[in-house]
Amino acid sequence: MKILVTVKRVSDPEAKLKIKPDGSWIQTEGVKFVVNPFDEIAVEEALRIKEKHTGEVVVVSVGDKVVTEQIRAALAMGADRGIFVNYTGAYDSFDIATILQKIVEQEKPDIIILGKQAVDDDMGAAGYMLAELLGYPQAAFASKVEISDDKKKAKVTREIDGGLEVKEVELPCVITADLRLNTPRYASLPNIMKAKQKPIKEFTVDALGVTVKPHLIVKKLTEPPKRKGGVKVESVQELVNKLKNEAKVI
């Protein structure tokens, strides 16, 4: 089976972020960048499917040359080869879906796995847009993926409001990874070394025949109003007294 998996380069979720003085974006100097945690889960799932059913895992990322670091990180986890789409301008989820559509048309994977959202823009849209553009079924927020013996279908358990749904999708399909799908492996040192030799094919958006034209434009970033911490109470009695008489919430 061929599995295509996407990785986005995002600022470390633990990093303390500052907005640029002109509000145009966040300050990126000194900020560590990592693979979007949901994409790491997607890579892990792709590797597990490959280990069980044999095949190939291809990892793709879009952006500046630096995103090859995140492709290498996925290769070090065990992915077989990379695709780097070199594009440095602004884009939105639909642009990414359009670029990925072209990659899928070339690669013809059986399964495409993406993180359910990127933890920087929190949009959570590209995977489902891609599924629609390809006319593929989608299984969002996966917490368990089982491929049928004939490799024609996937049974996916999805995290939904109020519980779980088991959805059956025909292959090829798009799956988005939720937190409980798996725990991503660490790349071992030998695998990190090996990853340096693995091929990464580079494309420009022009070569793919895509015109990037974002609908969504971020105009300005501001800090949300800060919530002020209140008081520490000394006892449960004091807490209940304050909740009843001051906050009037019980």
Partner: protein, 325 residues
């Protein structure tokens, strides 16, 4: 300006309460832009949902009922919604952020070649036109002013950022729309819904939420805070750590990648307060934190902090609340 279509979520034929936030956002935006607002219901056997939807003050309730739509799939619902939206010449499509809309709306947006914006906090209008939106990014550490340049805009609406539409005496016209869905072409089907049954209020509807985290040390710890929740008529929430550990079901996770809540009272027990968790609850009116680590970041947002071991403090709290209730 064209029409506004608000996709309402229904569960077992009943309108999901969370949808009322998007309804309110849509109706208000219709007024500000001199356009019309239509609610859209998709499914089968929708009599109850139609009745509720018809009393919310919209200009009409569009209903697609079909046996092929009896159980939800993004594939089938996107086809139905796209047909209706095209025939209505809508240029704004809204739904309250939920597992349903996060699955459906991006697919729908791509089908319509629309511009998509997720989890908006506000809709800005200027001279009778939509001029932009605000939305949170980076786990709520940033608020972004965004513009969407497209003939159709599809947006999910953060439930806690908009009040609920309230019941009105007038009734909106019910407009049945027939859409052909060929189940043979869908390539997907819902096999089973495994419901996490609970007699407590829904996390996103509750006026009080009691949440537990890693500090509760296990499912037994949750039993303790469940007693507190039941005394207060509260919903139970959890941090990611507690859900990952399997102590509570997944849909109780509060935070950036789980549910966003803003109840009157949020009691965080044994939760350290990572930014990803704060993103899901920091708009609560009153926040109480109980944690034995005095340096836990949760205390920086809590109105009332109690440095204590939950195993001792929560039973005491239950007794004290019983005294004053």
């Amino acid at each position: 300006m064209g029409n506004i279509v608000i996709i309402c979520e229904q569960k077992n034929g009943e309108l999901v309460k969370q949808s009322l936030s998007a309804v309110k956002a849509g109706i208000d935006t219709a007024k500000a832009t001199s356009s019309k607002s239509f609610l859209l219901l998709i499914g089968n056997g929708l009599d109850k949902a139609k009745e509720s939807a018809s009393h919310l003050g919209a200009d009409g309730v569009l209903v697609v009922e079909d046996a092929a739509l009896a159980s939800y799939t993004a594939e089938a619902y996107a086809i139905a919604a796209a047909e209706v939206i095209k025939s209505q010449q809508a240029n704004l499509v809204l739904a309250t952020t939920s597992a349903f809309s996060k699955d459906l709306l991006p697919r729908l947006a791509a089908k319509l070649r629309a511009g998509m914006v997720s989890d908006i906090l506000s809709i800005k209008t200027d001279a009778g036109k939509i001029s932009g939106f605000t939305r949170a990014m980076w786990a709520g550490s940033v608020v972004a002013d965004v513009e969407v340049n497209a003939d159709i805009i599809v947006a999910t609406v953060r439930g806690t950022a908009f009040p609920h539409a309230v019941k009105v005496d007038t009734s909106s016209q019910i407009i049945p729309v027939s859409v052909k869905i060929d189940p043979g072409t869908l390539k997907s089907k819902s096999l089973e819904i495994i419901e996490h049954k609970s007699s407590r209020p829904q996390l996103t509807d509750a006026s009080i939420v009691v949440s537990g985290g890693r500090g509760l040390k296990g499912p037994e710890g949750f039993k303790t805070i469940e007693q507190l929740a039941d005394l207060l008529g509260a919903a139970i929430g959890a941090s990611r750590a507690a859900v990952d550990a399997g102590w509570v079901p997944n849909d109780l996770q509060v935070g950036q990648t789980g549910k966003i809540v803003a109840p009157n009272l949020y009691i965080a027990v044994g939760i350290s307060g990572a930014i990803q968790h704060l993103a899901g609850m920091k708009d609560s009116k009153t926040i109480v934190a109980i944690n034995k680590d005095p340096d836990a970041p949760i205390f920086q947002v809590a109105d009332y902090g109690l440095v204590a071991d939950f195993a001792k403090a929560v039973p005491e709290l239950i007794e004290e609340i019983k005294k004053v209730k």
